[in-house]
């Protein structure tokens, strides 16, 4: 294999070889989940020339609480051709964790290719209310503190610590939406007013848009990846970690779980040129940049990130897909992709993606 050797830390080489996403929209009443997901599945398969039946493992991410219906993910399996039975799994999480499961499956040698998809429709319910149901049921959930409120506590902690201020937060939102002007799938692009306080110190412009959307990637091992993709985005490291669940136990200005995951994924073993960070709130980008040690030379969220489109359960997978797509296009050689889940960056997944150097 030509070019600079990559660090070999896992049994098998696995790469993201294709990525597709829907247009992210405020509402998609005319589409059921499978109707929303299916075009994305067809697009990602078409990029590789693979047929659904040729995929070794399929894994999806979604949430019944968004849908308001039990086992809602089973409906979208119709879109992958799940009869006759396929090797399939599901995580009740962002699709980034479905990708992690698929990566493990390929590492075990049980599959050479995997289709990972995830989706979320926030429009049927109130996502701020829905997300309170993921909190500790004894001490937190009875108070119904919504996701914006918890993020605002974190933002104030950062401001008190002198790590940012309201103008600094506004600049993150503005930069993200300006970058998103080049992203045809983004929900919120261009100059967006910072708006009123939602829960102070966070204003509308510091918060992600609420919307519906889906994403899919295809993973492949070694020579299969080389055959199907001109420049595979090799996953040279991937790890995920979780914080203590009680917010009052944590230093909200830091994300040790992101840092540890990054160490295990090898982020700090070389320079990165691109970062796709899943920071639904502007204040969370401040925390993540610090945890990942990202300098000014790194392009952060050229896609617009979650402040431009935050389809629940897909936005993390999209970060991996966007980073991989830049490698596919030759615009990045070594990228870090991050996904989060839970309040105030509770759970964090970090992946390093690398392209072969000429």
């Amino acid at each position: 294999m030509p070019g600079t050797p990559r660090t070999r830390r896992h049994a098998r080489e696995v790469a993201v070889i294709a990525f597709a996403q829907s247009d992210h929209l405020r509402r998609t009443d005319e589409l059921s989940e499978v109707e929303m997901v299916m075009p994305v599945l067809h697009q990602v398969l078409a990029q590789t020339g693979l047929k659904a039946g040729e995929i070794g493992f399929t894994c999806s991410g979604s949430s019944d609480y968004l849908a308001g219906r039990a086992f809602s993910f089973t409906m979208t399996l119709d879109g992958v051709g799940a009869w006759p039975p396929i090797s399939e799994s599901h995580v009740e999480m962002d699709g980034a964790w479905a990708l992690y499961e698929a990566w493990v499956k390929i590492q075990t040698g049980e599959a050479d290719t995997a289709l990972v998809y995830s989706y979320g429709k926030s429009s049927p319910g109130s996502v701020r209310d829905v997300l309170t149901r993921q909190l500790d049921p004894y001490y937190l959930a009875p108070l119904w503190p919504d996701a914006v409120a918890l993020a605002a506590l974190q933002a104030q902690a950062l401001i008190d610590a002198g790590e940012t201020d309201e103008a600094g937060l506004a600049a993150i939102g503005a930069r993200s939406r300006a970058a998103a002007s080049a992203n045809p799938h983004a929900q919120l692009t261009g100059a967006v007013p910072q708006g009123d306080y939602q829960v102070a110190p966070l204003r509308t412009g510091d918060c992600p848009p609420v919307g519906d959307g889906a994403a899919a990637v295809i993973l492949a091992a070694g020579d299969v990846a080389r055959r199907l993709c001109g420049r595979p985005a090799w996953i040279t490291g991937i790890d995920h970690r979780i914080e203590a669940h009680s917010l009052g136990l944590r230093d909200l200005t830091d994300s040790p779980s992101t840092r540890i995951a990054a160490e295990h994924a090898g982020v700090f073993e070389g320079p990165v040129d691109t970062a796709e960070l899943h920071a639904p709130f502007s204040s969370q980008e401040v925390v993540l940049r610090k945890a990942l040690g990202l300098g000014e030379g790194v392009s952060v969220n050229l896609s617009g990130g979650a402040l431009a489109a935050n389809p629940m359960m897909a936005a993390g997978l999209i970060r991996i897909g966007e980073a991989a797509a830049r490698i596919h296009r030759g615009e990045s050689d070594r990228a870090v992709a991050h996904a989060t889940s839970g309040p105030c960056l509770q759970q964090n997944l970090v992946a390093v993606l690398e392209g072969d150097r000429a």
């Binding site: 308001g68 119709d78 049921p137 108070l143 119904w144 605002a152 008190d160 306080y197 829960v199």
Partner: protein
């Protein structure tokens, strides 16, 4: 059926409620019972850190911790956020601050609401105290909220506490209600719209030509959109069935006498069977191959049941693939 203009997308309210009943371990039981008695308890970790609210396992070492201490009901705000538009179920209906409060004697903070006249009256480091709920049951909401402390409120220290109370709280009921507006999407909207005209609309897979009813918009075998709408039935064939001997619990079905037959019915032209109740024939005369047709009740949005058409039974070979 020719392609008509798509029906307007259906929407309906969908309410999901869960009254989760949760049991408490010894630590959470002591904490919540303490709140009922106007006492705030924490736990002490092996390295002497006091955690309020208490956890059962050390988040760093994962060691079990049981050593309870009583802490103060006055404390210090460690961070806060002004909630100008309280939402349903939140602790206060008037604008308030979300706060993390480190109670006197504790090393960690508890999340709750702070009643204050406006954001200018709140700051990190401010002193606050518990305002107890008028009626306390052993829940986190026994703390109604925090309020600004008064000059002279005592600064308490952590003191050992046995955690024993008469009539300990051993469980909570966690109420949850979420409101949705459900939209069934294109394919199911067409199906439901068809039912309103007493028609059953399926969709054909352009690849394998199977007709799905009810359609969900995709062929699960081919993984492609089913777009061609096809009217199936109204008559069909019983492919298999069971005899139900348990009286229906749902009020809508209380009038149905047991035993009755619930069957898989392959409507004519459909590529798979749907299910329905068989009426108009004694339960022990229902059989595979029986030809049936839907019976609609006045104002019904779907067939109430299926009854025999009187035709000869269908040949097994005709429906064996649909069982």
């Amino acid at each position: 059926m020719t392609a008509a203009s798509p029906p307007e997308i259906l929407r309906a309210p969908l309410v999901v409620e869960f009254p989760f009943t949760r049991s408490l371990g010894p630590v959470q039981s002591a904490f919540l019972t303490g709140l009922r008695e106007g006492v705030v308890l924490g736990v002490t970790t092996a390295d002497g850190k006091v955690m309020v609210p208490p956890v059962e396992y050390d988040p760093v070492t994962a060691e079990e911790i049981r050593d309870l201490v009583e802490v103060g009901t006055t404390g210090t705000v460690t961070t806060w956020a002004w909630n100008g538009s309280p939402r349903r179920n939140q602790p206060l209906a008037t604008p308030f601050a979300w706060v993390l409060v480190r109670l006197d004697g504790a090393d960690t903070a508890i999340l709750h609401a702070l009643d204050a006249p406006g954001p200018e009256a709140v700051s990190t480091g401010m002193r606050v105290r518990v305002r107890w709920a008028g009626e306390r049951t052993g829940a986190i909401t026994d703390i109604a909220c925090f309020e600004p402390a008064e000059e002279g409120d005592p600064v308490a220290r952590a003191t050992p506490h046995g955690g024993e109370f008469a009539d300990a709280v051993t469980g909570i009921v966690a109420e949850a209600r979420l409101d949705y507006t459900y939209s069934p999407g294109r394919a199911q909207t067409a199906y439901i719209a068809g039912l309103s005209e007493q028609k059953t609309i399926g969709e054909r897979c352009p690849s394998c030509h199977k007709v799905y009813v009810p359609p969900r918009g995709a062929c699960p075998t081919c993984g492609v959109a089913t777009t061609d709408q096809v009217e199936v039935g109204p008559a069909g064939t019983v492919t298999t069935y069971c005899i139900v001997n348990i009286k229906a619990a749902h009020t809508a079905n209380l009038g149905i006498e047991v035993p009755y037959v619930y069957a898989h019915i392959a409507l004519d032209g459909a590529g798979l069977a749907l299910h329905g109740r068989i009426g108009g024939i004694p339960y022990d005369q229902v059989r595979m191959g029986l030809r049936v047709e839907p019976v609609w009740t006045e104002g019904g949005r779907y067939p109430d049941h299926y009854r025999p058409t009187g035709e000869p039974d269908a040949d097994y070979d005709v429906y064996k693939e649909l069982i």
